[in-house]
Symmetry: C2
Subunit: 186 residues, 2 copies
């Protein structure tokens, strides 16, 4: 069965973080959709790169519920806009409650903190972006999985974040192959 | 003085390779322009990500001559289209002859090979993408600088490629700072 992932972006998303995930997931055959939460056809990243969104958030939680995974890239103001959007918080909680993967990198773990999903969990983020007391255990590792929550630290860890997502989806063999083929290892 | 870089892309460019360079260079204050060689406003990468070009190649070599650096991302068919475009070959030769930086990653060192710029040079590429005999010395290292030529290997080495470009531009302090700030090192 084809796996699928929803990448939620506001303007000001971090380009490396968002697009590395999309690139790697698509290489492994995952249907990765870039979703403009504000419903724009084109969205601009925090370093001025404008990309076309595959869809908008308008269709609501019912539709997003068909995905296996939700991914929150960092970048400002994107991460704060995601955190302060009640529909995004509901969406993330729904994914979590359904046992689906909830993944956030860099500044975006603050969204999971706001949703209360880091309680009792091992997690990471860009330094200073979440209150360590909101997590079970805060770890300065590049990609951290605890149950169905995956967190990561910044643009430099976006590849490891992406491979952690693939492995959590049961696509470990693809991850191993891509790490070699993309010259991440070896 | 502000540094500047021209990133030449055809459809089918590799997204991580092209956009990591743009992201990192802009973070260091370099004016990095994504240039659509075929003159399209929007260009589609090899994994379906569509981005807006900052400019088109139409204005010719005279204009591109004002940049400090030309960067060729990989991805197919992008790298082959760049290689087979006589205007791109002329452009790259002009940058080289002016002592400006000429940088290529993954499949794109084949463009430098075609332009005859790898002769006598230490260089690298995605495995199998250039004839080793066309280089002075072929090295399987992540980022290789020899004079004003910088080459690199694939998506997994795009960050190192970008920092090598910054250092060759005299922006080593920015590169050091970004390696930490982007969680590439430390």
């Amino acid at each position: 069965m084809e796996r699928s992932a929803l990448i939620l972006c506001y303007s000001g998303f971090e380009e490396i973080e968002a697009l590395t995930v999309v690139d790697v997931l698509r290489r492994a055959g995952v249907a990765a959709d870039i979703c403009s939460v504000e419903g724009k056809e084109y969205i601009r990243g925090s370093h001025g790169i404008e990309i076309r969104a595959d869809k908008s958030f308008g269709a609501g939680e019912k539709e997003v519920g068909s995905y296996d995974c939700v991914v929150l890239p960092g970048g400002l103001p994107n991460a704060y806009l995601l955190r302060d959007d009640p529909e995004v918080i509901d969406c993330v909680k729904n994914f979590y409650a359904s046992g689906k993967l909830v993944c956030a990198i860099c500044a975006a773990p603050c969204v999971l903190e706001k949703a209360g999903l880091l309680k009792g969990r091992r997690a990471t983020s860009y330094p200073g972006m979440v209150d360590k007391a909101s997590c079970g255990e805060y770890i300065a590792e590049n990609a951290v999985q605890d149950g169905n929550i995956i967190t990561s630290r910044g643009p430099g860890t976006a590849l490891q974040f992406s491979f952690a997502i693939l492995r959590a989806m049961g696509l470990g063999l693809d991850a191993d192959k891509l790490e070699k083929g993309m010259i991440v290892k070896g």
